[in-house]
Every structure is written in structure tokens, then in C-alpha cells.
Amino acid sequence: MNQYRDRRYVFAAAIILVGLLFMIRLFHIQVMDNSYEQYALSNAQSVRTIYPARGLIYDRTGKIMVYNKAAYDIMVIPRQLETFDTTELCAILKITRESARERLSSAKSYSYRVPSVFMKQVSYENAALLQEKMFQFPGLYVQTRTLREYTSPIASHALGYVGEVDQDHLDKDPYYQMGDYIGVSGVEKAYEEYLRGQKGKDIFLKDVHNQAIESYEEGKLDVSVEVGKNLTTTLDMELQAYGEELMSHYVGSVVALEPKSGEVLALVSAPSYSPDLLVGRSLGVEFGKLATDTLNPLFNRALMAQYPPGSTFKTIMGLIGLQEKVITKKTEHHCYYGFYVGNIHTACHLHETPLNLIEAIQNSCNTYFINVLKSILQDVKFASAAEAYDNWRQHLLSMGFAQSLGIELTNELNGNIPTSDYFNRIYGENHWNYLTIRSLAIGQGELLATPLQMANMAATIANRGYYITPHLISEIEGEESIDEAYAKKHYTSIDTSCYGPIVDGMDLVINGGAGSTARNAKIEGITVCGKTGTAENPHGNDHSIFIAFAPKINPKIAIAVYVENQGFGTTYAAPIASLMIEKYLTGEVKRTWYENWVKQLIQPVAPARKKDSIVNDTLQNN
């Protein structure tokens, strides 16, 4: 290889050449060109971050829900501080000297070079005054930011709140800097990238008086600010406010959907809190208060509370029975105060007998649906009860149970439909049958569903066989459409023809006269279809449940109401649903006495006498 020995000179020459080139360049920028020195000497460049206004949020009717107000943060760069008149600064900002000293030392302990917040959200007057005298306080400057403001103290669980960015996000996303705001929950979090816009950056030169004099390199390196995108939510502000008002005495949840689009009309979780509380300076303190509240107002019950569906589940049992052709709408079963096999007993209330499917839904007969479960699990199509059970469970999965539906909010829970393996583990393979798990037939036992899933079930029945994933945002400014996942129809594994009898039964629940379990939910001129339910609660009084949709033909609203610890579905959940439907469909509520009753302004006895039926209803419903 030594014939190429001379190539070492190429290497040597290249190395020397590179060294020479670098030294010439360095000589030029370090010794010849003085402009760099001046930039640095006068401590010249400053980067001013311009925070964009966050996108606004409108309700479905175009009314504004969330907007911004300006806030002024006093920022400090400790390294640039020089001695100044602390007294005057303290006077302007109305703080003590000790407080000022503390703030400075905490800023220093964070960084000498990176700006930190000296004082958050001072008033416009103070900020303006300070701005005028800024030349006296080198190292301090005023940073304009925006804070959230709400037109009405509602929908805090759906909207979420905005807070200071945490370390986790700072590490992950270089967009954020210490002290920036970020959507922490709700829509604010889910649509953060649209709402936040794009921060701008102005790079400019400062004179010795700490005032900006010119932009650096004619603004070539500036980044222009982009305002956040506005969003339109699917919420109806009036309905949402009304729902929160009705629920203000209770713990529970109301979810209303528009069946044909999956749009969430109202998402109530009670107790709630005003979104104003979690804004700006008060956030820390108020959040602490809310977090320690025993009723847990921060907990979004609409998506995270998992209750048994109770008797509302009988509608689904009927649907699956019809689909599997193990019953018809004419199938009848006898019931005398309950279901008896050997020493096994599940109680039922007094009603006519025998009942067919439609009447069984109307009367909410336990015996009937335990028999439906029996027919489903003993179906000869399947080799074993477990196999039939799995098929039954598959139908439920197609309706969105036991999975998060995929609403934009990230904290949605799954609910639960046990698998056949679960029962195999408990009872042993082939050692369980419809009797063992009969409580599932009436929506009790291991079944769990969130209020959102229940509302989705009501919407599915209203649509006669499909649902669209519930969602909270219908329009994003500048985007042609929202995520296509929110337009897709999810067809259930149950034929549309099966829904007819169930809908008829739900019609009779309210409009059927004697034997109907929720006559009190009736609205003049509107055919409301619904189903009551009561969820057994091992921790206290039972939960009151109601699902409904209206009108019967071409439904405009589907709703699920859970009222914790208030007993039968008829008592409170049905009236609340009924009032919500009336409010949404007619725009006003005429039954004010009823409203007052729900709000517990009058005792339940009074309307019971007047309308005579309510006491009976509460007894009749399971």
C-alpha cells in the first residue's frame, strides 16, 4: 500500500487548510468585526415572547361560553438587576419589602438568566404605571398574558381548566416554557393544540434605559404570533345551565345527546363548581379546596362514575332476546310477586299477569326478563351457557358497553360487563347458569356503565340501531371538519326491526296509563320514550336512574339521568329527564310546580296528593 504513501500529504494539507480557514474566519468575527461586541456589550438583545390569545369557545347556538381577559405578569431577569428604589416598586405593586425580597430570591434560585415571574397578574393600572417607570427598574419587565373568563359559571367538567404547564410537559414539548399556560383538563386539554395558537417571538435591541429601541436584524428572526383557533362546542348553554340547576341539590349526573349526530347537548356532573374558580392566581387555593371536598366536585361523574344500569337494562335484554329469536314481542310470562325457582327468589311488584314483552317493559317486570335471560342462555344454537353468554356480551360490546366510547375527554372510564371466564373462575366451568347470574337480567350484579354510556344507549335505541361516538366539539376554526371518528355510524349487532317493540314499550312506560312506571315524565304534546331504573348501592340508599329520548319519531334528544342515593328512578331521575327534554324541545318549562318539586322547594307529599299517582309509582318501580 505504500505506493499511496504520498497521500498523507493530502491529509496534512487538508488539516492545515481547515485550521487556517477557521482562524481567518475567527480573526474576522473576533478581531475585525466589532458589531458582535456591541451586541453583547450593551447586553443588547432581548427576546420578548408574545402570547397569543387562546381560542374562544362557543356553544351550539353561537353564544360565547369562554373568552379571555388580559393579565399582566411582572417578570424578572435577576442577572440584569441593578440597584433600584425598592420602596417605589413596592408602592406601585402594593407589596411589602420582605415579600419583594422573597420573590427576588426565589427567582434567583430558579435561574439568573431565564426570566421568571416576579408577580403574577397585577392589575392593568399597576402594570401601566410600572411600564412608564420601567427605566428605573432594569431587569424587570411586564409580560402580557391572557386568562380565561366565562360568561356563565357552568360546564366546568366539560370545558376543563387552564393552568401553568408542569415539568412533565416542559420536558416533552419544547414549545412550552416555565410559566406558560396549558389546558389541564376537559376540552381545554383535548384541543390544546388548536386553542393555544402559536407564541410569537420578537427579538430586539435595548438601550441602557432598559427600553426597546429597534428590532434585531430587521425582524428577520422574529416569529409571528398566531391567535388560537376558536371552537364551537356541541353543548347547549341553556340546557346545560338548566341541568346544573336541577341537579344542584343532588349528587349524580345528567348526559344529554343529539341521537343522530352523537353531539353532547349537556354534560352535568353534580356537585359541580364554577369554572371561574380555577383561573389564574386563585387556582392553587381553590383547587385545594375542591380536591378535599368530601363530595368530590372535581370528579367528573358523567364519564367516571360507574353504576349498575338497573332496570333500564331491560330494554337491552329485550333487544338481544328479539335478535336471537328466542322471544317475540308476543312472548308472555307469568309473574306473581316475583320469580321463584326452588328456594331462589327475586321479588317483583304487583302488576297484571301474564305480560308480553312490551307490557313487561312498561311495568318493568323482573320475572319476565329473568325468563328472557333464561331463553338466551339456554338457546340451542349454542353448545353451552358460557357460549351463549359470550354471544350476549358481544351484542353489548357492539352497543358501546365495557369500553371507553372515545369522547374527547381523556378521563373516560370503561364500565364493566363480566366475561364468561369471570363466572367460570368464580363458579367453575359449566357450574353456572341463568339462575346464578339472574341479577344481570335486571341490570344489577356485576354490570357497570357510566352515565355517558347510558345516554349513548338511549341514543342508540332512539336511532333504532346505531350510535355516533359522543363528542363535545362540532367545529374548529380553520379546519374543514372535525375528526372523522365523530362522524362514523357504529351499527349495533341488533337489527333495526328489533327496536320497534322496545321503543313501543318505552313509550308506554310514560304514556301507558295504569301500570306505567314513569307517568310523571309525561309532557303534553311530546311523545317521550323512557325507562326507569334503580341501581342497588351497597354503600347506602339506591341510585335513581332514568333514560329517555324524545320525540318518539325522529328523536332530537336522548338523555340519561343518575341521581345518587335517591331511591326509585321515578322519584327524581324521571322528572329531571322530563324537564330537561321539555326545556330543550320547547325552549321553556311550563311545569313550574314540578320544577320546584325537583329543586325540593316543596315537599313530595304535596304534588303526590294533587297527582295521586306519584306515591304509587315509586312503589311500583323496581
Partner: protein, 474 residues
């Protein structure tokens, strides 16, 4: 003992002295870049300068370990090490931890290790082994391909991670092949294609075409020793382009300037080809062929960038080249870096007195941008010192490499030279605004254990081979 003493006696202490100078001066600057008003002294291991002390201590141990091993060990185990290395690189893809979007780190006991760093010396060993294997001839096609494969395999795996800087570094191994007799014509062609690759990404295609056309024209004029013919050709092309441009505008058929330019060139190219055959002007045809190959290359690079790579990969490459802005603003960093160095003046602001480099505007001030601290605090004197230190160090290694009787040792030495050289060029070039920002460290100076250990091991393996230069003959 006798043998070990001989190693000590045969070691090149000049190189070791230069090495010690570099790491100590490097540490002083890391200390300055990270010093805060309140910290627990130089042994504050929560600070970077404290951690770097640990790295330096460990690298001294590593250096000794490299010297204790027998020189033949490196030769006999080079392939095995290389295969293990490829396995580890695959492993990091699966089990590694992701930092800044690149899955290239192992976390061991709180420390981060980047295996792609260690790949450099091992690749050099494997390459040296291949080039010195029996009957190897670099001028044979398949032999050359083998060498390329050894060089290319680690960066291919690293590219999946994705770390473009490392890939660029590996291309420096081509310099080793050059020293060992790789055709200088092909070398120049590769260099030209590399240049064309970057200019394709950096410039408008139409502008690039214009530049290439001008170069071709001038070349052909020089060779033909005639101005007239070239001028006529240029005029024809310009006129055609004008007409096409006008038609394109009138008909509003939105052909790009690049396409119009190609169309305008075609008739002249055809005429030259026909004349070339007729008059046997093969030189002119060669020039034309060069132009055609370049154009094809541009089109394929452009196609690959836009259609083969995914958007985030494109973005990464564009950001690396400083074409697209990223949220932190690459252009802004380079400016800050230049200001920091420029403000140092002739003799600097004095040690620990720098202001600009401590700003968080230059984000990688103790890793990739450590040269800024030198420039600001030590001035032109300091930067010249560092550059002379590097030039001296590299020239010394050349002398050492050339005095080997063993080809293996020499090739390994040139591997070391090439890798250090590319780091030096790219890193310093980037901080003084001559080259785009590609995040690779300045050897022996930048903060970071993986890179310091790698370069130390690299150097001391070579010094160990050098110490046995009288025994090693292969």
C-alpha cells in the same frame, strides 16, 4: 513487568500531553459555562462540571485499560467486537430510552450511555482488519463493496434511531479508504455528489439547474478554447426558456421553472450529442453526460425527499440543515453563538467572565456549543490555541500512523484521524456559522461521558498499537 515497562517507554507521550491539555481545557470551559452563583464547589456532582470530572476520571482508567490489553487482542477480536456492536445497536432500538425523539440511549444506574458513540472505534478496527486481510485489493469492486458494507452498517442502524449527525460522521471513513488507495477520481465524484445532495436540499431546483448549466458552459468553453460556440448555445437556451416561460404564463399551465429549464436545455443537448458523434468531440459529450447525471441525481434526491421519507423525517433533515425553523429556532442559536464568539475580541473577556455563553439562548452551551465559551472568554487567542492544538494533534497522529510497519495499525490510526477531523470541522464550522447546525460534539472538549470515553478509547487503542509497532507486522 518488563513488557509493561516497554509499553511505557514506547508510548508517544507528546500525544498524551496534547490529549491531557485538551480535556483539561475542555473541563475548564464546561465549568465556566455551567457555573452558577450558588453551587457546592467543583465536586458538586449535580452540576455538569462535577459529572464531567467523573467522566474524566473514568476515562483515565479506560485509557490504562486499553494500554494493559495486548496489542494483538485488538486485531484478533476486531470482527467479534464488531458483531457484538451491531447486536447492541439493534438492542438499543428495542430496549433503549428515548431522549429528544431519538431512541439511542441506554440508562444504567442513573447514567446515560449512547452505544452509537462506541461504534466508531470498533468500526475502525473491523475496517482495518478487512483492509489487511489476505489478498485484499481495494481496487477490486467486490472488495470495495465489503469495505463500504462495514462502514455503512452501523450508521444504517443508527439512522433508524434517527441521528443524522452520526451518519455524517461515518462518511469520514471514506478518507481512510482514500489513504489506502481508493481511486481519487471516484473520491472526487463522491464528494461532488455529496455537495450536490446538500445543495439540492438547500437551493431552489431551478437555481441549481442554472448554476450547473453555467458550470457546464464555462467548462466546455475552456476545453473548446472557443467563446463563440458556447455563447450561441447559451443564447439558444435562454431564448427557448423565454418563449416557454411566456407560453406557460399565457396558457396558465403551471409548469415549474425547473421543468421549463429542462425543456429549454433539451434541443441544445440533442444537437451537441449529434455533433459530438459526427465530429468525435468526446470531451464535450463527457461534460454533457456529467450535467445529465447531475440532473438525474437532483430529480431522484428530490423525489426521495418528498415521496419516500415521511414528513417528520423530512422535517428533521430540513431542521438539521437549517432550512426549516424548529420551535427553538436554529437560525437564532447560530446567531447567538456567533455573537458570543465575536464578542470575545482579541483576548477575550477573561475566564469565568463571559456573559453571552451563559445565556440560555445557546441551548447546548456545554455540549455542542462549548467552542462559544472558549471564544467569548479567551478571545481570538483562545480559539487559535484550540485550533492549533487540534491541527498539531492531528498532524502528530499522522506522523505516528505513517511510522507503523503494520498496515492494521496505520489504517486504524487513519480511522481515528478521519473521525476526529470530521467532528472538528463540523462542530467548529457550525459554531462560527460556516456550516449548518448538526449536533455533534467537539472531541475531548464537549460535555458528555459517551463521547469522551469513545474518543479516549479510540486514541489509546491506537497508542497501544503504536507502542507495539516494532512487533506488529501485519
Amino acid at each position: 513487568m518488563v513488557q509493561r515497562n516497554r509499553i511505557v517507554a514506547n508510548l508517544d507521550w507528546v500525544t498524551i500531553l496534547l490529549w491531557l491539555l485538551m480535556i483539561s481545557f475542555g473541563w475548564m470551559n464546561i465549568y465556566s459555562a455551567n457555573i452558577m452563583e450558588a453551587h457546592g464547589g467543583i465536586f458538586d456532582f449535580s452540576q455538569r462540571f462535577g459529572k464531567q470530572l467523573i467522566w474524566i476520571g473514568a476515562s483515565l482508567l479506560l485509557a490504562m485499560l486499553m494500554l494493559v490489553l495486548d496489542a494483538k487482542f485488538y486485531i484478533y477480536f476486531s470482527y467479534l467486537l464488531y458483531i457484538v456492536l451491531l447486536g447492541v445497536l439493534l438492542g438499543v432500538l428495542v430496549f433503549g430510552k428515548e431522549i429528544n425523539g431519538a431512541r439511542s440511549w441506554f440508562i444504567i444506574g442513573g447514567f446515560q450511555l449512547q452505544p452509537s458513540e462506541f461504534a466508531k472505534p470498533i468500526t475502525a478496527l473491523a475496517l482495518a482488519n478487512l483492509l489487511t486481510s489476505h489478498n485484499y485489493n481495494i481496487r477490486r469492486f467486490w472488495h470495495l463493496i465489503k469495505a463500504f458494507a462495514i462502514i455503512a452498517a452501523p450508521p444504517m442502524l443508527i439512522l433508524l434511531q434517527p441521528d443524522l449527525g452520526s451518519v455524517l460522521v461515518y462518511s469520514a471513513f471514506l478518507l481512510v479508504l482514500f489513504r489506502e488507495g481508493f481511486s481519487s477520481n471516484i473520491m472526487m465524484m463522491l464528494a461532488a455528489l455529496g455537495l450536490l445532495f446538500f445543495t439540492t436540499l438547500l437551493l431552489e431546483k431551478a437555481l441549481l439547474l442554472l448554476i450547473l448549466f453555467s458550470i457546464t458552459l464555462i467548462l466546455s468553453m475552456i476545453i473548446a478554447r472557443s467563446f463563440k460556440k458556447g455563447a450561441v448555445n447559451a443564447a439558444i437556451v435562454a431564448a427557448l426558456f423565454g418563449i416557454l416561460f411566456g407560453v406557460n404564463y399565457l396558457l396558465q399551465t403551471e409548469f415549474s421553472l425547473f421543468v421549463l429549464g429542462l425543456a429549454a436545455l433539451t434541443p441544445v443537448a440533442v444537437i451537441i450529442t449529434i455533433n459530438g458523434f459526427r465530429l468525435r468531440e468526446y470531451v464535450q459529450m463527457k461534460i454533457l453526460a456529467g450535467l445529465l447525471i447531475s440532473i438525474l441525481f437532483i430529480i431522484s434526491v428530490d423525489f426521495a425527499m418528498n415521496n419516500v421519507l415521511k414528513p417528520h423525517q423530512q422535517h428533521r433533515i430540513y431542521v438539521t440543515l437549517g432550512i426549516e425553523d424548529d420551535p427553538q429556532g436554529v437560525g437564532y442559536n447560530v446567531n447567538q453563538s456567533k455573537i458570543a464568539i465575536g464578542s470575545g475580541g482579541f483576548s477575550g473577556k477573561g475566564y469565568l467572565n463571559g456573559t453571552q455563553t451563559k445565556l440560555h439562548f445557546v441551548p447546548e452551551q456545554s455540549t455542542d456549543f462549548i467552542f462559544c465559551t472558549v471564544g467569548e472568554e479567551w478571545g481570538f487567542l483562545g480559539t487559535s490555541f484550540v485550533i492549533l492544538l487540534y491541527v498539531g494533534f492531528l498532524l502528530r497522529i499522522i506522523v505516528l500512523a505513517e511510522r507503523q510497519r503494520s498496515s492494521f495499525s496505520r489504517i486504524f490510526g487513519y480511522g481515528f484521524i478521519s473521525i476526529i477531523l470530521i467532528h472538528f470541522i463540523v462542530n467548529v464550522g457550525m459554531t462560527i456559522g460556516l456550516l449548518p447546525v448538526i449536533g455533534i460534539p467537539l472531541p475531548f472538549f464537549s460535555y458528555g461521558g459517551s463521547s469522551l470515553w469513545t474518543f479516549t478509547m479510540f486514541l489509546f487503542i491506537f497508542l497501544r498499537l503504536d507502542a507495539s509497532r516494532l512487533e506488529l507486522l501485519r
